[in-house]
Structures are given as structure tokens and as C-alpha cells.
């Protein structure tokens, strides 16, 4: 046990921060917030799954994916298909031309449930699919691209195009996917009303517990040899390759892992929000997920979760008061983070106790007069 503990946390402060945060989410917030607000926090936390994936993928391994929404969407759609089938029993859908199929299929003159919907009548299969479908698809895409050494800006643009294709594909097949409206009006999970207050509390706790399990898993990866290899790939790809590592495989694995985390997030999103729609899988939400991660700290697991909470909280509260100013603030914050605090909030928090010297070093980096184009990111400090 102490060994595992030491693998997970490098310092006592880190463990304390982790515990404190868990306490906040599990005890303080549920006591302080009405269930409606708590449900919102739960929704924000589902983006935390994506953000943790991005910490591994982007912060650690240097691969920027602008298509994480696709995997969030795949997980979410798997869950939504199950819930929709449950909500479409022949009794409640008796007024349809074909009772027993989802309403949007009926509106599109589909008279029989498509074959690939059938397995989603089973909960175990659905859970299996939530984990496996995003991971397998990501692995195939990643393997195809990383083997051919696609990286950097190219990878970002290709994943962004995939996000566009995915959302267009959903839009264009509304008889099978619900189209732009998405899959709405989800009510029960195996007969349990997911919209009730009780259920929302339980789902919130489920979300927090799963998120922290995943966070610990990610920290474990970061602190094993795999974590060090990821950083090494980011900074010195060729050296890693010529130390006998299969760089493409490792990248594809981490991409698939991040996708799986996104898929879990998507499924929990659907459970807590009650619907799924292509508007959460396209280009803009995919970039927003990167923003959450960047603001919180691309190197820090805890920071990324914090980023999701803070940006979304800001969005909700600030956009209630000044909807026009919100986009200025968001754009400005993002530019500032990228330019001056590449390690985000987590990086700032770590800096506080240290002497002035580090600040000087931080700013010195931006005063370099001769810009140098390289394809690598400069090694950003690597403490977590």
C-alpha cells in the first residue's frame, strides 16, 4: 500500500490537494448546493474525463487532438441509445405509426429498429460498448496516423476534420441518429427514474467517484515508466524510437485510452443531462474541452478537473450576468493562459511558494528575441 501511495503521489502536498478536492466534491458541495446546481457540477465533471485524457495525450505526450468530442459523443450516444430504447416501449409510443421504436425513427418513416440498435437493448452490452467503441475507433485512427508520423498541427487539423465529419454524419442520418435534435427525452435506467432528485444525487456521486478513480489511474500512468516515456516522446521523439520503443504504438494506446475516458464522460453526461445531441460532439465543443484542460493545467490531472469546473462555472455565472462580455473574457483568458501560463492554474499554484527567481525564468522565456521554429514543444516544466 505505501508503495502504491508513493507511486501515485510524489509529495505530501499533492496527496493533500487530492484529498481536499475530493472532500470538496463529495461533502462540501452536496451540502452547500441545491440539487439543481449540484447536477450542473456533475455535468461539468463529465468534461473532466475528457480533460484527464487530454492531460495524458496533449500535456504529457504532446499530441493535440481537436476531436475529443467525437469520443465523448460515441460514449454518450451508446448510453443514449440504451435509454431511448427503454423510453420507447410499445405502450408509451402507442400513438406512433410503428409503436416500440424511438419517436424520431417513426417521424422518418422507419418501420423497423435498425440492426445495430438491437444490442443496445442490453445494459451489459451498452456498458461494454461505452468503453470499447471509442477506444477501438481511436486506436484505428491513431495507429493509421502515428505509424505515418503524423503529428503536431497535422494531427490537430485531421482530428478536427473527423469531428466535423462525425457531426455532419449524425445530422445527415436523422432517421437513425436523431439528427440535429439528438436523442432526447430520456427518462429511466432499468426502470429507475434518472430525472428524480434522488437519482441526480446518486448519479453525481457516481460521477465523482468514477472521475477520481480515473484520475488516480491517470496519475498512476504518469508516475510509471509509461508516463516518463510519454514525456520523452513529446520532447525527444527520435531518441525514444532509437531506444527501441514503438512510438506509434504507445501514442495510439494513449490516444485510445484518452478516447475511452472521453466515452465514459459522455455516458455520464447523458445520464445527468437527459439527452444527447450532435452539438456536443462537433468542432467547437472539442476545442472547448482543450480550453478547460489548458486553463486548469495541461500537465496536471487535478488541474484539468479544476479547469473544467472553473471555466464552466464562469460560463454559467458570467454568461447569466453579461452574455456579451463572456466571449471576450473566454477568448482573452485563453490567449493569456497559452501565452503566459502554459501550465495553467496548476502551474501557477505550484509557483506560489517558490522564490522570485522562477517568475523571472517564466517571463524570460517570452522575451527570447530570436524565435526558432521547431516541431517540438519546448520542454515545459514537468513537476506535477
Amino acid at each position: 500500500m505505501p508503495l502504491l501511495f508513493r507511486t501515485l503521489f510524489k509529495t505530501r502536498g499533492e496527496a493533500l490537494a487530492f484529498g481536499g478536492f475530493l472532500l470538496l466534491l463529495l461533502v462540501v458541495l452536496p451540502l452547500a448546493l441545491p440539487v439543481f446546481r449540484l447536477n450542473l457540477v456533475g455535468k461539468y465533471l463529465t468534461f473532466g474525463f475528457v480533460a484527464i485524457g487530454l492531460v495524458l495525450l496533449w500535456g504529457r505526450c504532446g499530441i493535440l487532438s481537436l476531436g475529443q468530442g467525437v469520443f465523448f459523443g460515441l460514449g454518450g450516444y451508446c448510453m443514449a441509445m440504451f435509454l431511448k430504447l427503454e423510453a420507447s416501449d410499445p405502450v408509451t409510443t402507442a400513438i406512433q405509426s410503428t409503436p416500440g421504436i424511438p419517436d424520431f425513427m417513426d417521424w422518418n418513416q422507419i418501420t423497423k429498429l435498425p440492426m445495430y440498435w438491437e444490442p443496445f437493448k442490453s445494459l451489459p452490452f451498452t456498458i461494454f460498448a461505452i468503453f470499447v467503441v471509442p477506444a477501438v475507433i481511436a486506436f484505428i485512427i491513431g495507429w493509421a496516423l502515428f505509424r505515418r508520423r503524423v503529428g503536431g498541427v497535422y494531427f490537430a487539423i485531421i482530428t478536427q476534420s473527423i469531428a466535423l465529419i462525425f457531426s455532419l454524419g449524425i445530422d445527415g442520418n436523422q432517421g437513425y441518429t436523431g439528427g440535429r435534435n439528438g436523442i432526447t427525452d430520456l427518462r429511466t435506467l432499468c426502470g429507475w427514474d434518472i430525472r428524480s432528485e434522488n437519482a441526480q444525487y446518486i448519479l453525481y456521486f457516481l460521477c465523482v467517484v468514477l472521475l477520481f478513480t480515473v484520475a488516480l489511474g491517470a496519475k498512476y500512468i504518469i508516475n510509471t515508466r509509461l508516463g516518463r516515456v510519454l514525456v520523452a516522446i513529446r520532447d525527444r521523439e527520435d531518441r525514444v524510437r532509437f531506444s527501441g520503443y514503438d512510438v506509434a504504438m504507445i501514442r495510439a494506446f494513449i490516444f485510445a485510452f484518452a478516447a475511452m475516458l472521453s466515452g465514459i464522460g459522455g455516458a455520464l453526461f447523458v445520464l445527468q443531462v437527459g439527452f444527447m445531441s450532435p452539438s456536443i460532439v462537433g468542432i467547437i465543443p472539442s476545442i472547448e474541452m482543450v480550453i478547460f484542460t489548458a486553463v486548469g493545467g495541461r500537465l496536471s490531472v487535478l488541474g484539468a478537473i479544476l479547469g473544467c469546473l472553473i471555466v464552466n462555472f464562469g460560463k454559467t455565472t458570467f454568461s447569466e450576468a453579461y452574455p456579451d462580455l463572456w466571449l471576450y473574457l473566454m477568448g482573452g483568458t485563453f490567449i493569456a493562459v497559452v501565452m503566459f501560463f502554459p501550465n495553467g492554474l496548476a502551474g501557477l499554484l505550484e509557483k506560489i511558494p517558490t522564490s522570485k527567481g522562477k517568475y523571472a525564468a517564466l517571463f524570460a522565456r517570452f522575451k527570447k528575441t530570436t524565435p526558432v521554429v521547431t516541431t517540438k514543444t519546448t520542454p515545459i516544466s514537468d513537476e506535477n
Partner: protein, 408 residues
Amino acid sequence: MKLKSLSHHFLKVAALALATATATAQDKLPTAQVNTTGLAVTDDTVTVGQLHSATGTMAISETGSIQAEQLAIDQINAAGGVLGRQIKVIKEDGASDWPTFAEKAKKLLVSDKVGTVFGCWTSASRKAVLPVFEKENGMLYYPTFYEGLEQSKNVIYTGQEATQQIIAGLDWIAKEKKAKTFYLIGSDYIWPRTSMKIARKHIENVLKGTVVGEEFYALGSTSFGSLINKIKLKKPDVIYAAVVGGSNVSFYKQLAAAGINASKQTLLTISVTEDEVLGIGGENLAGFYSAMKYFQSLDNPNNVEFVKAFKAKYGKDSVIGDVTQAGYLGPWLWKAAVEKAKSFDIDKIVEASPGLELTTAPEGYVKLHPNHHLWSKLRIGQWQKDGQAKVLYESELIEPDPFPKGYQ
């Protein structure tokens, strides 16, 4: 400035309010009596919510509804409010993002306890908030013409459902233009798809015509060259279009540039209002037809007043489209229902709603059907270069039928 230009209208409104018997300061009903379910109603105010996209891609379309609803609320307040209470508005921004709509709807109903919500524009946003309204038992006044296939206790649809907008329009064009062949074009989402489905059934089964092409383009598509060539090849009598958003502009500009104009081709659209014409440019549309229940150019006293008030508030260059007018009806219909029910309770409003009539509507007389949609007329307008429509045809009042038999 508003007061002066609107005074005439206010007098009429005030008279109407008096006539409907309750809303003066003297005989105000006690709050405990008009509000038994804990809504945000005090002795002097009632809080309502407004939920539209002020930012994001849909802000283009929803701005008009936001303005019209605000105008109606201002006018109601100036005339003494609802049951003697001034309306306070909480504005929420759905930011063109459906989960945000759901989130904000929940906030309005659960945290703010608003008496009603005016809002949503796209079908997708309505579908996202619908379960919230049903679960929390809120009230939504939804202004957009839409695909039908829906009826909820908690929603009043002040725009037309698909059959109201489509069937009379197709009948007219088939008769006027002796049209037999139709090319159907829409943006790729539920409203155009459902509309085209109804249109196709009507063309094939009733008009005995043929559909020579039916295509849907992703929202935001900007290149229509290939489509236009296909149209040229098929030479339909009528192009029947439901293209929305930014694609609209590209579609009509490219159509005009390819030499397809009103002198050679009949085009009927169900998605172009005065709002869209601003972006497309009147010269690109001149001579084409729109089927709507309302045009800014309607010549009746209600509308003249309305247009004057709207321009006084939002500037002389502002325009009013179909949805904007439908948005304007929302607060008035809610006020009428509340005053008929003598209560802000949602269940009592729902009970009072069927059969409500509004004689002051800019579009003319409207009546609320038990299925929560409005009886309304359909008009065919022909677009002029100045961006206004010349109304050529006006139907009788059409019964709303959100689940049309034989069209599904």
C-alpha cells in the same frame, strides 16, 4: 420617446385590459390567491424568463424574437401589468448550444421560479428543454414555425406547425402557376425534412404532381453550384425551398448568379422572412414567393401600430419577420390566459388557454386550439427589391394539426 409614439396603442391595450375585467391597481387579487405553487410572484411583480441565443450561430435568428418579446412585455407593463403586477424579465443566453438551453431552462424554473418562459427558436433547443418543462411543470411560449409532431401541456406554440404553412401554399402555387413538377431543397435537420415529407405527400397524393428532386444540405453549406446545375437539368416548375441560416444567403446569391431568377423560375420558400432578406439582399430574391403567416407589410391597423412601435424602439432600419411577430404574441397570450384564470398557477393557465382569442395580434385574429397551437391564416408574399413582401394571397383561418393523418 417610446411613451409618446406608443400612447395610442397603450390606450387601446389598456381598454382591452379593462374590458377583460381585472387588471387595475384598485381591485388587485392577493398574491396568496393567484400564486399557490410558489412561483416568483409578489404583490407588485411577476418574474418571467426569456431564453434565447444572444450569442453563437443562432443569435442571427433569435435577435428578432428577443426584441419582440421585450416590446410586448414593455407594453403590457405600461398598461398596468398582469393582474396588477409588473413583469420582471430574467434573460438567459442559450448560446446556440442545446445543453446550455436545458441547463438555463432548469435554472429559470427551479432557481428563479419564473411564472413562464418565452423562448427557444430551433427545434433542437425546444426538444432539449421540453423534458425540463414537463418535469418541473413550467410554461414555455415557443415562437417559431416548426415541424409539428409534438404537443405538450407545458408548451404554447405561437408559430405555425408544418401543415398550416405548407398545404395552403402548395395549393396556391399549383393553381396559380399550373405547377406539376417540384424540386424540394432544405437544410439538413428535422424541420425541413419533416416539411418536405409533408410537401411530398401533398404533391403526390393531392396535387397529382411529381417531385423531381429532394435534397438536404448541411447547415452552413456555402457551395450550391452542383445543386443548381441539377435544377437546371431537371427544369422543375417550382423550386420549393427550406434552406436556413447562412446557407440561405449563399443559396440565393448563387441561384441569382446562375441566371435562375423570378422571370424564368418559380420559387416558393417556407424559410425566408424579412430577417433573412436582410442578409440575402432583396435584389437576389425579387419575384420569389414566401409562405408565411405574417409579413411586415400586412395592411391592418394592428400591424401598423405594431410596426410603428417596433421601429420606435429598435430603430427605423429594423425589420420584422414571421417569427418576430409570433414572439410578440407570446406575452400577450400568457397575459390573457393568466387574467382568464385569475391565477399565475401553471395548471390553471393551461386550463384557461384553449379557446383564448387575441384580436389585437399584428397578424390579425388568432385563437388558441386545445392542442396548444394557434388557428392562423397563411399568406403568400412576393419579395420586392426593397426587402419587403407584397402579399398576394391570404387563406382562411387554418386549424392546427400537429399530427396530420395521411402525411406521416
